[in-house]
Symmetry: C2
């Protein structure tokens, strides 16, 4: 009954903004793309490399992440870390998230009362 | 220090998907656009008519809302109501929201431990 394409688009739309916030929070501990992907997955958020990797590059361009190549391992890896500005942005987005959660709770409760 | 345009874009991006969910939840009680706008505002979510009204029309086109003109009052008003399909979509998006909130909590706690 529900158009699967429509539903998929709506879910992606809702997820897109929050993935940014998740990355900014997670990368206060420096990590490389694939490890972050796995870490997001194990926290319950499914995303994919084709979404995440360009996002990390974009956040770096915007100054919200910094990056550093680590070449100690056989395979060099680019580690990302949340910048000071990234932390400030994350704090503001968290406030927004909390406000949206309160709104959602308000209207969700409306159903049962 | 934070580029205000960048921050504004990120906040809008994060808000966009959740406004859909809020509308679907709120309109289980039929309401007209302006009243919904005020109701969203009083729940803590600031949006504007130029965002909300086209969204309501889009959700109606997608079959997630139905509408009915009420002409009892001096000024005819179009009342929107969440359709059965809209309620099903809202339930799925609420699950997603809960999962994202758990992920956010996970990484947010990461800061302080």
């Amino acid at each position: 009954m529900i158009d699967p394409d429509l539903l998929s688009t709506m879910r992606q739309e809702m997820r897109r903004g929050s993935v940014v916030l998740l990355c900014l929070l997670a990368l206060r501990q420096p990590d490389y793309g694939y490890a972050l992907l796995k870490s997001l997955e194990s926290s319950g958020l499914t995303t994919d490399a084709n979404t995440l990797y360009p996002l990390l590059r974009r956040l770096e361009r915007q100054g919200l992440l910094t990056s550093e190549w680590v070449t100690d391992d056989p395979r060099p890896r680019k580690y990302y870390r949340t910048s000071e500005m990234g932390s400030e942005v994350a704090a503001l987005l968290l406030d927004d998230w909390a406000a949206m959660t309160r709104s959602l709770d308000h209207f969700h409760r409306g159903e049962t009362t």
